[in-house]
């Protein structure tokens, strides 16, 4: 279907973003390809250093999955902020990534952890880094004949790992003005051995700060080091402005929230 109709066809999974866009006539696809009944796209598989989720896994199912929460804790932490019960019951993890809203929670987690996205077309499949896949607001590098098939979420094997997710929105469940996610691993002495930090709603795509996070490695994650990292990250943001918040306010939020998730992740890592 996608190969034949190209741009005039769209894949529909949960429809929690696509159908509103169609209702508002922002999109008028001539054909909808419904993947909801494809059971091959509904699975969770744990591999050695990553967890695989099928594109059509409902957000509520992923949220409830304890094995997944133990290995990729950011998924459950982020999903608590995704929409509402009724939308998570229908919305899918793959759909959220393919929709690529710059303020959305799951693309942020995928970007900051360095998840892999598997795309399939009638010609075969290819695997992309989340950073290559997410190209701009509501845009991805998926071709019109490609369907998102599965996502590979990196699993950190470090014993003392902690992660945190937070955001500010007008109301809980609304689009985030700014969202922040962090994951940190420490050794017995509390020294940081691995770090990841990301911000959503702060540019055209979710942002990951690999270099800034790498500077935390080797430190004891003192408040000063965390404040510096949060401040450096906020300087790299390029948020938009709207009725609800100015660019300056969003940048301020980026710094405050980045600091908050880094401190929370540090405390959780130390407790492990």
């Amino acid at each position: 279907m996608l190969a034949t109709h190209g741009d005039s066809a769209r894949v529909i999974a949960g429809g929690q973003s696509l159908v509103p866009m169609m209702a508002m006539r922002l999109l008028r696809p001539a054909f909808l390809v419904d993947i909801n009944e494809i059971t091959a796209l509904k699975f969770v598989k744990i591999e050695k250093d990553f967890a695989r989720t099928g594109a059509c896994m409902r957000q509520c199912v992923v949220e409830r999955d304890d094995t997944l929460a133990a290995r990729v804790p950011l998924l459950r932490q982020a999903l608590a902020w995704v929409g509402h019960v009724q939308t998570r019951n229908r919305g899918t993890v793959g759909g959220s990534l393919a929709h690529a809203d710059p303020s959305a929670e799951l693309p942020l987690v995928a970007r900051m952890l360095g998840a892999k996205i598997v795309l399939r077309s009638s010609k075969g499949s290819r695997t992309l880094d989340a950073g290559q896949f997410l190209t701009g607001p509501m845009s991805t590098s998926a071709q019109p004949d490609e369907c998102l098939e599965e996502i590979h979420w990196p699993v950190w094997s470090e014993k003392r790992t902690g992660s945190a997710f937070t955001e500010i929105a007008i109301r809980h469940g609304d689009f985030a003005m700014v969202a922040a996610a962090a994951q940190l691993a420490v050794d017995e002495s509390g020294r940081c051995t691995r770090a990841a930090l990301g911000l959503g709603g702060a540019a055209g795509t979710p942002l990951a700060f690999a270099e800034i996070a790498a500077r935390l490695v080797g430190t004891k994650l003192e408040d000063k080091a965390i404040e510096d990292a949060a401040s450096d990250a906020s300087k790299e943001t390029d948020p938009g402005a709207d009725l609800h918040a100015t660019k300056e306010y969003r940048r301020h939020l980026a710094r405050v929230l980045a600091g908050r998730v880094l401190r929370e992740a540090r405390e959780k890592a130390k407790l492990q």
Binding site: G15, V19, L32, D34, Q86, H172, G173
Partner: protein
């Protein structure tokens, strides 16, 4: 101009309903216009207000964000299906009446579905869990307080 029709078979409130529907007919329009089950309300039609909430296979979803063809082979429960078989109100519905959990009534079917969805999986919710469960449903009359009280009262009675 004739539109292509698709056969659907959906179990609605325990009864199997067969119909021929166009691909782009939303589930809520199917329930209201074809089955005349007008208890489910149409509010924003883009997934914000929650008035159109129904249960799909026992879990609350927004029926304005689904097409009727997507419900083929599934079970749907609307507000009409919440009452007891003899037509009397459920414990939750009674509690809404008693605590004045509604004024104009527009959001009520969606609120009932959301609250029932919560009580089905969590019979003793905290106030925070109740507020979270109805967080996706807009009410412009009550200020939500009496709705929260209604759910609490129903939970207490169902102990």
């Amino acid at each position: 101009m004739s539109e292509t029709l698709h056969a659907v078979s959906i179990e609605v409130n325990g009864k199997r309903r067969e119909a021929q529907v166009p691909a782009r007919l939303s589930l809520v329009d199917f329930l209201r216009d074809e089955l005349r089950l007008t208890g489910t309300h149409v509010g924003c039609e883009h997934g914000i207000c929650g008035a159109c909430s129904v249960m799909l296979d026992g879990e609350p979803v927004r029926s304005c964000l689904m097409y009727a063809v997507q419900a083929n082979g599934h079970k749907v429960t609307t507000v009409e299906g919440l009452g007891k078989p003899d037509g009397s109100m459920s414990a939750l519905q009674d509690a809404f009446c008693e605590t004045h959990g509604l004024q104009c009534g527009y959001c009520t079917p969606g609120m009932l579905i959301a609250a029932q969805g919560l009580l089905d999986v969590n019979p003793h919710p905290t106030e925070e869990q109740i507020r979270d469960a109805i967080g996706g449903n807009l009410c412009r009359c009550t200020g939500y307080q009496q709705i929260v009280e209604a759910v609490k009262l129903a939970a207490e009675r169902m102990k």
